[in-house]
């Protein structure tokens, strides 16, 4: 059976999600931030984390975006193959949702229409859209507005197979060390291992949208996530980069088959305002 979904529904959903994501952290991130206050040993670090708690409260109560960088709207959309979209182009409907959300929701317009001419598009479009076709008759939408303080510190390393797991660890630690205070720690580290040049970067981005408490189902990857989190926190960077024990809240890793000649590693760093919400239509 084919199920029909109108583009108006998609636009309205994305509009709401852009506004919600920029004012309220998802439950898993909220919990991770509360736990961080308990864990932090540095007095200044603790003070910063408490200010971030206060910031989240003000954001929700007064409807002021958590961070002024309300991001470029990154959207993962999984379209069931039994869905028929009517009412116009899906891509236009998504961008219209972003436009309405950012304009009507008092969110910052941070997108320039051309990377070198750099004129602001004034409505935060276009979004960055990652489509996938899945089984079923639903559309699952993840909205993850991404700030660029941390985006700018993200990296892709094309390692050699001989570099192995130690090479991966070094790559992640190098990226986090270089990011330091620029990425607004405590950060979340998304990692994609394998695939191709672009696949590892997209996996790294997608990994940031995973529930903070959920570890990889692959035993060695789960261990790697835990080991890297400990090593990152041992760097001492701390909240705001001003010293402390909580530098990262989580390391989320995705993997994919790759070529006999390669070991691509993508590292997408996100600040503590790791916005990701999901709705299914």
């Amino acid at each position: 059976m084919i199920r029909t979904i109108n583009t108006d529904k998609i636009t309205e959903t994305i509009r709401e999600m852009c506004i919600e994501a920029n004012h309220f952290l998802s439950k898993d991130m909220d919990k991770a931030m509360k736990d961080a206050v308990e864990k932090e040993e540095s007095p200044l670090g603790k003070q910063i984390l408490c200010q971030l708690q206060e910031n989240l409260q003000i954001a929700g109560e007064d409807m002021i975006p958590i961070c002024q960088d309300t991001g470029m709207a990154v959207i993962f959309i999984e379209v069931g193959q039994d869905v028929h979209v009517e009412g116009g182009s899906l891509e236009d409907a998504i961008n219209e949702g972003v436009r309405q959300g950012y304009v009507e929701g008092f969110l910052r317009k941070s997108v320039v229409g051309d990377p070198l001419i750099r004129e602001n598009t004034k409505d935060n479009t276009p979004a960055i859209i990652h489509y996938s076709i899945v089984s079923g008759d639903k559309i699952k939408i993840t909205v993850a507005p991404k700030g660029f303080g941390s985006e700018n510190m993200s990296r892709v390393f094309m390692l050699k197979p001989a570099d192995g797991i130690e090479g991966v660890k070094n790559a992640v630690l190098t990226a986090v060390k270089d990011a330091g205070p620029n990425a607004c720690p405590p950060m979340v580290v998304g990692v994609g291992i394998g695939g191709t040049f672009e696949k590892c970067a997209i996996m790294a981005k997608h990994a940031l949208t995973r529930d903070m408490e959920q570890r990889s189902e692959i035993p060695y990857v789960k261990e790697l996530e835990e080991e890297l989190l400990e090593k990152i926190n041992n760097l001492g960077i701390g909240p705001g980069g001003l010293g402390g024990r909580v530098t990262a809240l989580a390391v989320n890793i995705e993997t994919y088959p790759t070529h006999i000649a390669g070991l691509p590693v993508g590292i997408n760093i996100c600040c503590h305002v790791n916005r990701h919400i999901v709705r299914t239509i």
Binding site: S42, R108, G180
Partner: protein, 182 residues
């Protein structure tokens, strides 16, 4: 140590601000980020006057989200300072005394801070809602067409910042992390 200071600054006060101090700023400061810095830099190259005097002033690297009705400003936290590194030394040489942002600075900026007895402060990144409460007035005074990147004159009250690089060249980002490394 907690300190209270009014902006614009007085040159003789700068030596009393030490790396690691927690400082509350009250008074007038100006916002400028990437695009405004590029324009100011190009104006200087053409030997034109800047839209705002740098003398004893403070620049906040910030581009706010839009204000809801009845409020002076939207979310208003710091942006990454290193993108302004190319332009900052020229402004410091013109008398700029304070910069508020987040993240590392280049050697050239650090040298210009010491040479001109200025200070680089960090505000807490990602605390834009909280920081907006310390901004009592906001007015676009130049480059209006740049939208969020326009130069704004802000009246701030007890705006909380931390001294990262002081006039002696001490850098908190380098010293603070060693205590918590394992």
């Amino acid at each position: 140590m907690d300190k209270y200071i009014s902006a614009p600054f007085k040159s003789e006060e700068m030596k009393d601000l030490k790396s690691g101090d927690y400082v509350y700023i009250t008074g007038t400061i100006y916002t400028a980020r990437d695009a405004a810095h590029k324009r100011m830099y190009e104006a200087l190259e053409r030997k034109e006057e800047l839209p705002v005097s740098m003398e004893n002033n403070v620049i906040y690297y910030m581009g706010p989200s839009p204000a809801r009705e009845g409020r002076p400003i939207g979310s208003a936290g710091p942006t990454t300072a290193s993108r302004m590194d190319k332009y900052a030394p020229s402004l410091l040489d013109l008398g700029l005394k304070g910069m508020i942002g987040k993240g590392k600075r280049s050697k050239e900026v650090q040298d210009a801070i010491v040479r001109n007895q200025a200070v680089y402060f960090a505000a807490v990144g990602g605390a834009g809602a909280l920081l907006s409460k310390c901004i009592k007035k906001s007015e676009v005074i130049a480059y209006d067409d740049l939208g969020t990147e326009a130069i704004r004159k802000l009246e701030v009250e007890n705006f909380p910042v931390i001294v990262v690089i002081d006039a002696q060249g001490n850098n908190l980002y380098e010293t603070a992390i060693t205590d918590y490394q394992r």
